[in-house]
């Protein structure tokens, strides 16, 4: 039985190795378990080599194309601030942006050929588009959970806590538990909780939630 929602559009942006693909699979599979129609489109030609990776996850009865049109994403989940900025054209006005501020330098920055822009220059334009922008260091939270690699799961926790998904949050949690190998589960559940709590805590205050 398919559930009827018309359209939910999510963009996940990051660089190769950050686990964007796994995060996108978890959201998409959760949606399928909930009986929704799903389309996922990805660009990852250079993913093995630190290139930009973008995943479009589309849920609902009216989705056909694997890609979201500019200005039509409900949520932008940015695993890296520059990649969030690069893909911010997809975020609709009044959408939600959740951005990890931990930078991943490209080779050109490491070798000194170009400079990495100041964080504010990357996040400010997104904040002007978004209804809400949740900007925090998810990599640091993942480190606290036990491994910076679990940043993608911190971000999933934050996404789930923002109450925008078309399925109950606990379904995402269950899917995560099914998918992550047992020996990494504790770490990942912790990472998920850290991301989840970060958003829940901040949504009552006015600080990191930049209400507008």
């Amino acid at each position: 039985m398919r559930k009827e929602i018309e359209k939910f559009n999510l963009v996940i942006a990051g660089v190769g190795g950050q686990g964007t693909i796994l995060a996108s699979r978890i959201v998409a599979t959760t949606a399928i378990r909930g009986g929704f129609r799903v389309r996922v489109g990805e660009t990852y030609g250079a993913a093995q080599r630190g290139g930009p990776v973008m995943s479009h996850i589309r849920i609902g009865s009216s989705v056909n194309s694997p890609f979201i049109c500019p200005d039509e994403a409900d949520v932008l989940l940015g695993f890296e601030p520059a990649e969030a900025r690069r893909t911010s054209k997809y975020l609709k006005k009044g959408g939600l942006a959740i951005i990890n501020i931990a930078k991943v330098y490209p080779v050109e920055v490491i070798t000194g050929a170009v400079e990495y822009p100041p964080l504010e220059d990357l996040t400010r334009p997104i904040e002007t588009i978004a209804r809400d922008a949740i900007v925090f260091d998810a990599t640091d939270l993942a480190k606290k959970a036990g491994n910076p690699v679990a940043m993608n799961v911190v971000m999933l926790g934050a996404l789930a806590a923002s109450d925008v998904l078309p399925f109950p949050e606990k379904h995402l949690r269950e899917e995560l538990k099914d998918r992550i190998p047992k020996k990494f589960l504790e770490l990942n559940v912790k990472a998920y909780e850290f991301g989840f709590n970060k958003v829940k805590e901040n949504s009552s205050g006015e600080t990191a939630w930049q209400k507008r």
Binding site: V15, R25, A28, T29, I32, G35, F36, R37, V38, R39, V40, G41, E42, T43, G45, A46, Q48, R49, G50, G51, P52, S62, N64, S65, P66, F67, C69, P70, A82, R85, R86, S88, K89, P106, V107, E108, V109, I110, T111, G112, V114, E115, Y116, P117
Partner: protein, 633 residues
């Protein structure tokens, strides 16, 4: 790969990629033999089957090249079993000879060929449309628009192929290959796979002896049979549920949406709120043309738009048909310049095209460009190709005086990343194996430069060997470096005949590249380890100076594979550091070697090693100040 591909749970809905769905379709169809040579965007089909196929009694192989892959699959399909052969669009160019032969001959098991086109050239050197070549062979073409169809159409293609004894083409493009979507699983075939070569049906000698083929010139008859089969395919396509006309019967505007384009058309029509004004024919079969169904649409409407990727393949056929059935019909598409002839389509492109035709405001404006650094393609940290490239550059400088003293023909593989600075080792590149043969033309033309080819191990085995024999035979004094990382790395680390493992992970004989090169008649053949800079440099200098065909094999396993193996074994790469006292800031390790693991401290004008380092040691060997050393634990 999704483990759901192999689930024996008919009716269950799972998330599958288009390519995985084709693999599932093959499982549901009871395929016995599946072959391919890896190539983006088709690779996941055989990757998936290599993982799960043997469980279903399937033989799954990475063939040495696409031509061999199709020959193997064809051989199987004449023995009463179903066979699948997958390739990227460039692979279809390789198989054309066999393609036009197998379609002429009968098969007894279904034969489905998959060609995954890459119209946007995301990971290809060309973006051509393979449907023209497939049509040359009179092979019917089926184009799925989503993963569910990819699975279902694959199964349908096998049934139809077997029924009319003609191979079928499943033609995808990047987006239908790589799109993920919900797929309802079907029954897994319990088909009896009795292999049998029916001499009475196939054996040319026997058929001639029995007078069933005209002797001595029997081939013209086969051509006539082929066209009869083509007609049968046409009839079957008219009944096929994958082609669907969505119309209320009174629309004056029609759209033919082919394959993946259907997704964009539906969303564009929705966006512009044209639902009541247009009739949409969702076309899954682009050849042979669905004349009856299309004629009904052509006569019912006054205007028509054809949407497909990337060539006007259906559009041209429809224009010809319209001349007969409705000459007054106004046809929009690529010829009218409403739909671009290059690249892949999107909802934005189709929406704007429709807006222009209907005279309303275009819903999508060009996006203002964001000023942001690019993340360039680069070789991995510790990639042996970087070390080979660096040693080669130094050797070229030594022998030729400057970098323009050579012409470098590059090839298809990770080493094509040597195109970029600081290496710039790609004066030209074409298709698989051309780095062996094209330099010979340069040599015979009489250029003053030394013609060099750079080729990978898998690519050499795929298409390099005949070229090398030709060099020796025809006395072209070309140089060839085989960058042997013992795997097909660029498409995702598939094994090849030199790896010692089959697609399904079984141990097998490893083909000795040195023996092959020797057997081609090459007199100068040396093996280097690119992680040994001095040794590599000396041999490359010798190679460039050699008066004759010279081959150097630069052998070192792909670093990504090596690091994975080390992680599995709980080992860590050696640590290196740069002594800031000794570093003179010359930029050899950063700007000239270009290793992404070496950082640059702008204020101090000194280099530093970052935690990305894989411990290859090459920077330590090339540092003129001897400032880089291994950290002893």
């Amino acid at each position: 790969m999704s483990a759901d591909v192999a689930l024996d749970s008919p009716g269950k809905t799972v998330l599958l990629m288009g390519n995985e769905a084709i693999a599932r379709g093959a499982i549901e169809a009871g395929v016995k033999v599946a072959t391919a040579y890896p190539g983006t965007p088709s690779t996941e089909i055989i990757n998936t089957l290599a993982g799960v196929g043997p469980k279903f009694g399937m033989h799954v192989e990475w063939s040495v090249n696409e031509h061999v892959a199709l020959e193997v699959a064809s051989g199987a399909a004449q023995c009463n079993v179903r066979a699948l052969c997958a390739m990227k669009h460039n692979g279809l160019s390789v198989v054309c000879d066999m393609l036009t032969h197998i379609s002429l001959r009968d098969i007894s098991g279904g034969l489905v060929i998959v060609s995954a086109d890459d119209p946007q050239l995301h990971s290809s050197q060309t973006g051509h449309d393979t449907r023209w070549m497939t049509r040359t062979a009179c092979i019917p073409i089926i184009e799925p628009s989503n993963p569910q169809e990819a699975k279902d159409f694959t199964k349908f293609a096998f049934e139809l192929s077997e029924k009319i004894k003609l191979p079928m083409m499943i033609r995808t493009v990047t987006r239908s290959s790589q799109m993920h979507g919900d797929v309802i699983l079907g029954e897994i075939s319990k088909r009896e796979k009795m292999a049998k070569f029916d001499f009475d049906k196939f054996s040319i000698s026997r058929l001639l002896r029995q007078g069933k083929l005209p002797s001595p010139f029997w081939n013209p008859v086969l051509h006539k049979w082929l066209h009869e089969k083509e007609q049968k395919a046409k009839e079957e396509f008219e009944k096929f549920g994958g082609n669907e006309l969505k119309s209320k019967g009174n629309e004056k505007f029609g759209i033919i949406a082919v394959g993946v384009s259907y997704n964009y058309v539906v969303e564009a029509v929705e966006k512009l709120k044209l639902n009541d004004k247009v009739a949409i024919l969702k076309l899954a079969t682009s050849y042979p043309l669905l004349e009856r169904k299309i004629s009904r649409l052509l006569t019912a409407v006054e205007e028509l738009l054809v949407v497909e990727e990337p060539d006007p393949f259906v559009e041209i056929q429809v224009r010809a048909l319209a001349k007969d059935v409705n000459p007054d019909l106004k046809i929009y598409g690529k010829d009218s310049k409403h739909i671009p002839k290059e690249g892949e389509l999107s909802t934005e492109i189709v929406s704007n095209a429709l807006a222009e035709i209907f005279g309303v405001e275009k819903p999508y404006k060009p996006e203002p460009k964001i000023e942001l650094f690019p993340r360039m393609l680069t070789m991995c940290v510790g990639c042996p190709h970087r070390a080979t490239g660096y040693a080669l550059k130094q050797a070229i400088k030594k022998v030729a005086g400057n970098y323009e003293g050579v012409i470098v023909d590059n090839d298809i593989g990770c080493y094509i990343l040597l195109t970029m600075p600081p290496f710039s080792l790609n004066d030209m590149s074409f298709c698989m194996g051309t780095s062996v043969s094209v330099p010979q033309g340069r040599y015979h033309a009489g250029v003053e430069q030394i013609p060099i080819g750079l080729i990978g191990d898998s690519t050499f085995l795929h298409a390099g060997i005949p070229g090398l024999i030709n060099a020796v035979y025809n006395k072209a004094k070309t140089k060839l470096i085989i960058l042997d990382n013992q795997i097909t790395a660029m498409t995702g680390f598939q094994p090849h005949p030199g790896t010692g493992k089959t697609a399904t992970g079984e141990e097998t004989k490893s083909i000795d590249m040195v023996e092959i090169v020797k057997a081609c008649g090459v007199d100068f053949i040396k093996v280097i380890d690119p992680y040994d800079y001095k040794g590599s440099y000396n041999v490359l200098v010798e190679m460039l100076k050699f008066d004759g065909v010279a081959v150097v094999i630069s052998r070192r396993a792909c670093v990504t594979e090596t690091l994975r193996k080390m992680r599995r074994e709980g080992k860590k790469p050696a640590l290196y550091r740069i002594d800031p006292e000794k570093c003179v800031g010359c930029g050899t390790c950063t700007r000239q070697f270009g290793c992404p693991a070496i950082g640059w401290k702008e204020e101090e004008k000194k280099a530093e090693i970052t935690p990305l380092c894989s411990g290859c040691d090459v920077c330590a060997q090339i540092c003129p100040a001897e400032a880089i050393s291994k950290v002893e634990e």
